[in-house]
Symmetry: C2
Subunit: 492 residues, 2 copies
């Protein structure tokens, strides 16, 4: 453990990077822009996966797996999608290495093993999947297709940040096919609701659900829905998207079905995804200058017990006393670590588990043994209390439940205090720079104005919230008429 | 559903391909050599993953994730390993596409976006992982490192077969680092035992555990242990390997640690893996001319209930009667499908679930309702029996348990009848061609003889079984002295 301590106030970006590396979540690799997800970070990602996967299955989806590579001719079939990703594509051109005749023991690409058609490493899988669905769909009886895949994807990024923007990342991508537009629209919305509920109850992150403007849409979509979170530094982070793809991919790959009435029609599509980016959202929503703060529902270790002792005899007495309690906690499905390492002092252990965000720390020393008590410390508020051992399992279980809720409420409170209604351009700039957060302001609905505001302030329209109040006004920048406010923010 | 029926006797290879495609397990994709794993096939793979992952964690391993790409300079660091995989490597050379000036709406590789150093799509991850471990290991306190990763890998294959040999496949690869040779050797053996126990109790496949000859070793290993299964056509299939890597990768990547005594030493390594190839082993061990046969422990649907009815009223009566039974079965953790599709006749449904290998089929019609009975059919033996509904849940649960064991015993019996002791070269060829299976024969221990036998007969040495009887004899081919028999077979 080594936490190169920079406070959030001093340098938020450096604080983030240090935390990710020092809490053993992830690190940069020798491959430009690609990260190594370390065991502790991966254990948190696995918890996210399990929770999401259960929700996908409960809503009728099945997992499958499609190829990593997309032949160029398939990739370019849906033109808007291809154009949107073309600049970020890793391309496989050869399939063999050979000994380098000029350098003993070294290899070079075998020029004779050039592929006839280049293969794109998937930046997203609509093309390869819709090319496959063509063979799966003949009639309305074959619909809907409700499929998800857990996979790695590659988008070549020039400026990368651990979890937030990496050349390779892990994600899930749902790809569904429907007989009617209505059903596809409903699916798009349903999956966004699944993401929002997951963010709220598991990640303890409040999100704003809404629709992207045309300029911010997924390439190839007719509509993109999103959930937006707010980080502690006042910047927004897009946490998940759900796309209504219309018949665009069905047309590009000629996927038609026979309707009940015997007619031929193109199939309607959706796709939706969340990625290891959620790890970044998690860290930047809850953590503090001492390190990670994990909501109990996501913590690989929920309770750590640190014995305070001199000599092996005292340690053994403490171990004996705690053993049945640990067993009982585990029976309740609570993950407990008894940190009896003799190589480190309690102070070191306290700092280490604080850095790693373990929700509850229990300390127990000789005096506690005499008194029948333990010291229980919450990671989120850093409150400590001395509790009697009687019925301690119940107390811990309730505390974990309470913490999950309070961590969420604390984030919700921060977020709600950072949505500011703004009516003038000066105020817009002022709030954006100083108060930060979401700005609710009128916009004239044109891409030109959106671009101009982005160019001048780096703020983008994060979304038009669902069920947005219809309220006539004047565009914050042009003064032209507007029918509703939209949410601006600087974003990751 | 459409099962293009070819019997195993007629054409085993075609039977296999038809089964994989028609039972909705996997299909070929538009990418040369890459497969699509369909939802039903993927559900079986997920069950394998869960069972393996639990075993890895119980033996102290943690999951992590390492980059898909390996820079060429890292890839070639361990020369034997690099040489072993060089001919099968997909190589990324560019990171961008651009509009093709000659073809409207098409893309081409941007020649300006050529990588300075080529990236290899991982065929296995020792190189990238040991390059990472270098930063994780300073002292004996950092050891052991017990890490596993679930990932996709790419090995360019010229002749591919669904699940058995594909350019991209899914697998897990464990990579461990140890302070002593003894510990690494024990880990290598432990993980092979984990694989063998998993194969036996989950896949219901008996395996032979043993050591590979030097020629059949993993490139870069000092020793390769394996489990070998026997398929119905008498060919062997390597189902999993566990490698003792010595200090080869530690030396190639300069990974040293400080011992307790303050000295510097290279770290000892293992790696071990199983892949979607296990799906092939599963299919070819148990299935029959009617389709897939799944051991209950792996079946995504363990029990299917097919109502036999005329008119909606009868269907409703049957549904009402079965509802509490279905609930009770699910409470016991048994997965049940009530196939009430009105679009298909019972005969069609029977054939479909037979093709998909559902272990138990329950049929219930009006007469059964009167008699308080159901017809229960086992997929493996095709035995049918009429059972009273009283306590049916217990009967089904016991039947599933019995089937799991009997499917294993049936495969074990077949396997044991196909291990033949052979003492002459003529007999060797005769058994190999006609009886098939494993041949236990003396071998003089040289790679030359091994190669020659392979060249002449296509038989390879599958392994030298653990605890092999030491028994002097004469090599089956050269007549030179031999100290033990080894197992030969034709193999996938």
């Amino acid at each position: 453990m080594a936490f190169d301590k920079v406070t959030r106030e001093q340098d938020y970006s450096k604080w983030y990077n240090n935390l990710v590396e020092d809490a053993d979540l992830a690190q940069h690799s020798s491959v430009r822009g690609c990260m190594v997800i370390k065991p502790y970070g991966y254990a948190i990602w696995e918890k996210m996966q399990q929770e999401l996967d259960r929700r996908f299955k409960e809503t009728g989806h099945q997992n499958a797996y499609f190829p990593l590579f997309v032949p160029k001719s398939l990739f370019e079939a849906e033109e808007k999608n291809a154009e949107g990703f073309a600049k970020e594509c890793a391309v496989v051109t050869h399939y063999r290495l050979e000994s380098d005749p000029d350098k003993e023991g070294k290899l070079r690409v075998d020029p004779k093993a050039k592929l006839e058609e280049e293969l794109i490493v998937r930046p997203t899988s609509e093309a390869i999947i819709w090319n496959t669905y063509k063979g799966w769909i003949q009639s309305y009886r074959d619909l809907p297709i409700l499929v998800n895949q857990w996979a790695n994807v590659v988008r070549w990024e020039m400026r990368t940040r651990l979890f937030l923007r990496t050349a390779e990342f892990l994600w899930q991508e749902g790809h569904t096919a429907h007989a009617t537009k209505k059903e596809a629209v409903e699916e798009t919305r349903q999956m966004l609701e699944v993401y929002a509920e997951f963010a709220e109850t598991v990640l303890a992150i409040p999100t704003i659900k809404g629709t992207k403007t045309e300029s911010e849409r997924f390439a190839g979509a007719d509509d993109t829905l999103c959930i937006e979170g707010l980080m502690q530094d006042g910047k927004a982070l897009q946490m998940g998207t759900s796309h209504f793809l219309g018949q665009n991919f069905a047309k590009a790959f000629d996927v038609k079905y026979t309707t009940k009435e015997g007619k031929q029609d193109y199939v309607w599509a959706t796709s939706w995804g969340v990625s290891t980016r959620l790890m970044g959202a998690l860290i930047m929503t809850h953590s503090d200058d001492e390190g990670l703060v994990l909501p109990p529902n996501l913590a690989p270790i929920q309770v750590v017990i640190v014995p305070i002792y001199r000599g092996m005899e005292q340690l053994e007495t403490i171990s004996d006393r705690m053993e049945p309690i640990i067993k009982n906690l585990r029976k309740r499905g609570i993950t407990v670590k008894f940190d009896n390492r003799d190589t480190h002092k309690p102070g070191y252990k306290f700092a280490e588990w604080e850095l790693k965000g373990v929700p509850i720390r229990i300390a127990i020393g000789p005096r506690d043994l005499e008194n029948g008590t333990v010291e229980v410390a919450r990671r989120d508020t850093k409150e400590k209390q001395v509790l009697e051992l009687t019925d301690i399992e119940n107390k811990i279980e309730h505390l974990l439940e309470a913490m999950q809720k309070e961590i969420y409420l604390s984030a919700l409170n921060f977020r709600d205090n950072h949505i500011t209604n703004v009516n003038t351009w000066d105020e817009f700039k002022e709030v954006l720079e100083n108060k930060t957060g979401f700005i609710s302001a009128h916009w004239d609905g044109t891409a030109e104005t959106e671009d101009k505001i982005k160019e001048l302030t780096k703020a983008t329209i994060r979304c038009i919230p669902f069920d947005n109040k219809q309220e006539p006004g004047e565009c914050i920048y042009t003064g032209n008429p507007s029918k509703e406010r939209v949410l601006f923010a600087k974003a990751y």
